[in-house]
Amino acid sequence: MATTELEILNGLGKIINEITGIPASEVTPEKSFVDHLDIDSLSMVEIAVAAQDEFGVEIPDDQLKHLKTVKDVINFIQN
């Protein structure tokens, strides 16, 4: 099932808000998780697990460390 970039972005926004409290509106494609959103590595693990449940795409640990921005995650899920 194809999921649009916007749908993934909105889903990620909800997940990130739930886990970190960052407003979903601040979760935009160009944002870096570490530099812009100040999300630590433990929270990234939580976000990755929640994203797997939401989008049905497994994000292995060795891939997760390469996903630096919101756009990286969107691309990973889409592909």
């Binding site: 739930e18 433990l42 929270s43 939580e46 697990v49």
Partner: protein, 412 residues
């Protein structure tokens, strides 16, 4: 009194208890003799001999932001709520982080996290565990979070001594300031252990009341018909500060933290030593540490949990170590037993009794047991006299730990 010793005062109070989500509501509940004990309605109570407890009046997840709550065990949540109140109450002071400490402990730690995480692990696999599982279950987790909250760098510690934990934390904090390691320390205890396994395990010890037909009457310290304690939950945290530091910043001072006494029974892992010698020793050492005479102690907030074994022994020990003149109360009759949180909450109560010159009643004390030859407040709250007076908070724990903390009225 030696003149060179650092004097320590209390400048902030925080609590979240079965009687209320803050200090004010907890105190008014205590003074009114209100019970925080309620029947439990979870599906699992059918398999237990005990169907009631004293849950926190305000669920911490209603107070804390959701992203914060999900990373904290319930015991840590209580501690953070109480510590924030205490810190605000102290004026949220700007202090030198290197001179700021934290001592917060819990009797059992993140027990509900352990149990639910194990279920998650078995049912869904390790990948589904929260990456915060370890910081949620470690017994020093609450101290760690409170330390982060206030930015403490002098030292963040957790004393663990079962039901004496909260009082021992306050004693340790007092010593941190006296020894020159810190100017200001956030200290107390927390517990969140209302879970079927804990209720079952305490029931297996025959330690819990099974008065299922009258839960509000179940916690009855010193009463002849007591049959065990009632499990409570919550946290009590205070801010201790050197008098010099408190004066320099113009802080409001509740009371002086005058001394602490410790002892150990060396008798049995869970049963109190039958002569109460350890308890006497803790109170005597507390008086010596506070450099006061027994006659100056006009109030005692007793440990008195409503178990058959402990209460009379404490009454006898109080009479022996202090005398029969102090006005004694057992606030667990209303809050239930908060285990590691008890010493924190009861220190808050002891301090407010000095400030307000009012001792909350011991509820459900219809018929004092043989050997209770001390002045326990029944019925209505009782006034304390004017003038400089001291009070003791007793806390004892499985393992044979005995702690007595002395507070005194403060006049600037």
């Amino acid at each position: 009194m030696s003149t060179d010793r650092v004097r320590v005062v209390v400048t902030g109070l925080g609590a979240t208890t079965p009687l209320g989500g803050d200090v004010a509501s907890t105190w008014s509940g205590l003074v009114a003799g209100r019970s925080g004990v309620r029947p439990l309605n979870q599906e699992w109570i059918d398999v237990l001999p005990v169907g009631f407890a004293a849950p926190a009046a305000v669920d911490p997840t209603e107070v804390l932001p959701r992203p914060e709550a999900r990373r904290l065990d319930r015991a840590e949540q209580f501690a953070l709520v109480a510590a924030r109140e205490a810190w605000r109450d102290a004026g949220s002071p700007e202090v030198d982080a290197d001179r700021l400490g934290v001592v917060v402990g819990s009797g059992i730690g993140g027990i509900t996290t352990v149990l639910s995480a194990y279920d998650t692990f078995k049912e869904k696999g390790w990948q589904r565990l929260s990456p915060f599982t370890i910081p949620m279950l470690m017994p020093n987790g609450a101290a760690g979070w409170v330390g982060l909250e206030v930015g403490a760098k002098a030292g963040v510690h957790s004393t663990v001594s079962a039901c004496a934990t909260g009082a021992e934390s306050i004693g340790y904090a007092l010593e941190m300031i006296r020894s020159g390691r810190a100017d200001i320390v956030v200290a107390g205890g927390t517990e969140a252990a209302i879970h079927p396994l804990n209720l079952a395990s305490f029931a297996a010890m025959r330690a819990l009341s099974t008065r299922n037909d009258e839960p509000e009457r179940a916690s009855r310290p010193f009463d002849k018909n007591r049959d065990g304690f009632v499990l409570g939950e919550g946290s009590g945290i205070i801010v201790l500060e050197s008098l010099e530091h408190a004066r320099a910043r113009g802080a409001r001072i509740y009371a002086e933290a005058l001394g602490v006494g410790y002892s150990a029974d060396a008798h049995h892992i869970a049963q109190p030593e039958p002569e109460g010698r350890g308890i006497v020793l803790a109170m005597e050492r507390a008086l010596a540490n506070a450099e006061i005479a027994p006659s100056e102690v006009l109030h005692i907030n007793a440990h008195a949990t409503s178990t058959p074994a402990g209460d009379v022994m404490e009454a006898v020990a109080i009479k022996s170590a202090i005398g029969d003149h102090p006005v004694v109360t057992a606030t667990k009759s209303m809050t239930g037993h908060l285990l590691g949180g008890a010493g924190g909450v009861e220190s808050v109560a002891t301090i407010l009794s000095l400030v307000n010159r009012l001792v909350p009643p011991t509820t459900n004390l219809d018929d004092p047991d043989d050997g209770v030859e001390i002045d326990v407040v029944r019925g209505e709250a009782r006034a304390l006299p004017e003038g400089e007076i001291a009070a003791i908070n007793n806390s004892f724990g499985f393992g044979g730990h005995n702690v007595a903390v002395v507070f005194k009225t403060f006049h600037s």
